[in-house]
Amino acid sequence: MFVELNQTLRDGSSSDSLSERTVTIEDQAPTNASFLFYHFASLFLKNSKGNVLFIACDQTEAHYTSVASRLGLMLQARQGQPKRFACLELHSLFSDAVWNSEATALNDCLLKEVDRLCHSFDSEGPLLIIWDNAEILLDLGASLDATRQTLLSLQKAVYSTAGTLVLGVHSSPRDSALSAFLTHWTDYLLITRAIGTGFSKDVTGEVEIQVRRGRTLPTHHLLHYRLGDRSVKFIAPGLAAPIM
C-alpha cells in the first residue's frame, strides 16, 4: 500500500524483509497509527497471498472493515473466494469467558481462540497476526510474564508459517515495562507522533522507523505523513509543498 514505507522497512536488503519478523507500532497521543495496520494487512492479502488474523480491541471488526474498504482494501472475502481474513473481537471473547465463569485465564482463552481461527482459513500461507493493543492483558490484570508468554506464543504460531506479527501499543517505553520489552524484542519499531509547529499544514504527523533486528545500534528513518479522506501519503521530511 505504502511504497515509501516498504522501501524503508526493507532497509537495503533485497529479500522479503517481513518473513519471520515482529513489528511494534507505537502511537503517541494525539496520533492514531491504525492506518499502518491496513498497510500490513494489504501486503499479506494482495501481495503475499497469506492469511490475516486481526485481534481487535480498540475498535470493532465493522469499523476496521469499513475503513479498510475506504482505503481500497477488502478484508472480507466475497462469495466464492477463499477465506483469508478473520477478526477476533477481544471484548466479546472476554465477556463470554467471564459470563461462562470459565476458570481459565484470559491469555489461555485468547490463545485457544487464535488457534481455532488459524485453522479456519481456506488456504495455507504465511500468517499475519495484527493485535491493535497488546497491552490490554496487562490492563485486565494479567502479570508481565503471562503477557510476555502470550506474545511469545503468538510469535511461535506466526513464525511456523514464515509470517509476521504486528503489535500495537499506546504507551512509550518510559511509561510501561511491556513497551520497553517490545522495544528490545521486536525487529522493527514504528512510532507515530505529532509534529511541532513550523511545518506545512499538509503534514499530519511523522513516523519514526527503527530497524533493530540483529544490530547493536538501531537505524532510524523519519517520514512525514498526511492522512486524507481516502488515502495516506508519505513525504520525506522537508519536501511537503507549502500551503500559502
Binding site: 510474564d145 528490545h184 524484542w185 533493530r212 544490530r215
Partner: protein
C-alpha cells in the same frame, strides 16, 4: 574493552539505543574456543533465531530453549539452569535476565541468589535490559556481578563502560567505543585517546598449520664450508659473548676515579649529593 574473564558473574546491561545481543554473540564465540562446556539459556528468541544470528553455532555450545519450552515457575528455572550448567567447569549464558525476573515467584533477591549459586560451578554471563527494571534493581544486580558492562550510545557510536572486580579487590574500569563485525569480531577504540581502533580478535587462528613456520636458518648460508671449517667456526667465541658474562665484575671497586669497562652491565656509581636512605620515596603521597 576489558576482555571477559569468564569467572564469577558477568552482567551486560544494554538499552533501547544500544543492543547487547551482538556483544553476547562475541562472548559466546570466545567462550566456545576456550571452554568445552558452554550452555546458552534462551528466553526471548528461539534456537533457530539465535543460530541464524550467530551464523553458525559452535559444536561445544548447548542450548536450553526456554522460548519453546517455558517453565511454570522460578523454582523450575532454578533447577533447569543448575542442571544445565553444572556438568563441568564451563560458561553459562543467560540471554535475558529480565525474563527470569518476571517469572512467577522470581524477583531481584532470588535472581541474585541464583546467580551466586550458578557461579560456584560455572562462569555466568547474563544480558540485562536496563529500562525494564527499576534503577535500584539494576544497582543490586550490578553489585552481585564480578564484571559489569554497561552499553549505551553516543552520536551513532556504541559505548561500553566496563567495571571489573579482580580477585585481589582491585577495581578496573574503562570506557571505550566498540562495534561488532558480521563475523563477530569486536573492534574497540578508546574514548579518551581517540587512537587507532584495535581488533579484539577473540577467535584464535583455526590451526597452528596456518601460522608461518619458524625456520632455523644457520649463519653460514652460501659459504660452502667443510666439516672441519664448520666445527672451527662454531667453536669461536664472539667478542660480545664474553662481555655479557659477569666475569671480572667480582671485586670491582666502583668508587674509584678510574674508568671501568664492564661489558654491557649497567653500574651505578653513587654521587656525593645522593641521599640513599631506605625509606619509601613516595610515602608522602598519602595513597
Amino acid at each position: 574493552m576489558q576482555e571477559p574473564l569468564f569467572e564469577g558473574v558477568t552482567l551486560i546491561e544494554d538499552g533501547a539505543e544500544c543492543s547487547g545481543q551482538s556483544l553476547v554473540g562475541c562472548f559466546v564465540k570466545k567462550a566456545a574456543v576456550r571452554f568445552t562446556n558452554v550452555v546458552v539459556a534462551l528466553f526471548d528468541n528461539s534456537k533457530e533465531s539465535f543460530e541464524q544470528h550467530l551464523s553458525s553455532l559452535p559444536t561445544s555450545v548447548t542450548v536450553l530453549d526456554f522460548y519453546r519450552e517455558p517453565l511454570p515457575s522460578f523454582a523450575d528455572y532454578e533447577a533447569a539452569l543448575s542442571r544445565g550448567g553444572s556438568l563441568q567447569k564451563g560458561v553459562l549464558f543467560i540471554e535475558s535476565l529480565t525474563a527470569l525476573q518476571w517469572v512467577h515467584g522470581g524477583g531481584v533477591d532470588r535472581t541474585c541468589s541464583l546467580l551466586h549459586h550458578l557461579a560456584k560451578s560455572n562462569a555466568v554471563v547474563a544480558l540485562l535490559h536496563g529500562e525494564l527494571l527499576s534503577p535500584l534493581e539494576v544497582k543490586r544486580l550490578a553489585y552481585v556481578a564480578d564484571s559489569y558492562y554497561k552499553l549505551s550510545a553516543d552520536n551513532e557510536t556504541a559505548i561500553a563502560s566496563c567495571l571489573i572486580r579482580r580477585g585481589n579487590g582491585k577495581l578496573v574500569s574503562s570506557t571505550e567505543s566498540f562495534s561488532v563485525t558480521p563475523d563477530f569480531r569486536l573492534i574497540v577504540q578508546e574514548r579518551a585517546s581517540g587512537g587507532k581502533p584495535r581488533v579484539e580478535d577473540f577467535i584464535p587462528p583455526k590451526s597452528t598449520a596456518a601460522a608461518a613456520p619458524v625456520i632455523n636458518v644457520p649463519f653460514d648460508m652460501g659459504l660452502k664450508l667443510s666439516a672441519n671449517e664448520r666445527l672451527a667456526k662454531q667453536s669461536i667465541k664472539l667478542p660480545y659473548t664474553a662481555a655479557q658474562s659477569e666475569e671480572g665484575l667480582v671485586g670491582l671497586n666502583a668508587t674509584g676515579s678510574k674508568k671501568m669497562k664492564a661489558g654491557g652491565q649497567i653500574i651505578y656509581v653513587p654521587d656525593v649529593a645522593d641521599d640513599l636512605d631506605d625509606s619509601d620515596p613516595d610515602d608522602d603521597l598519602m595513597i
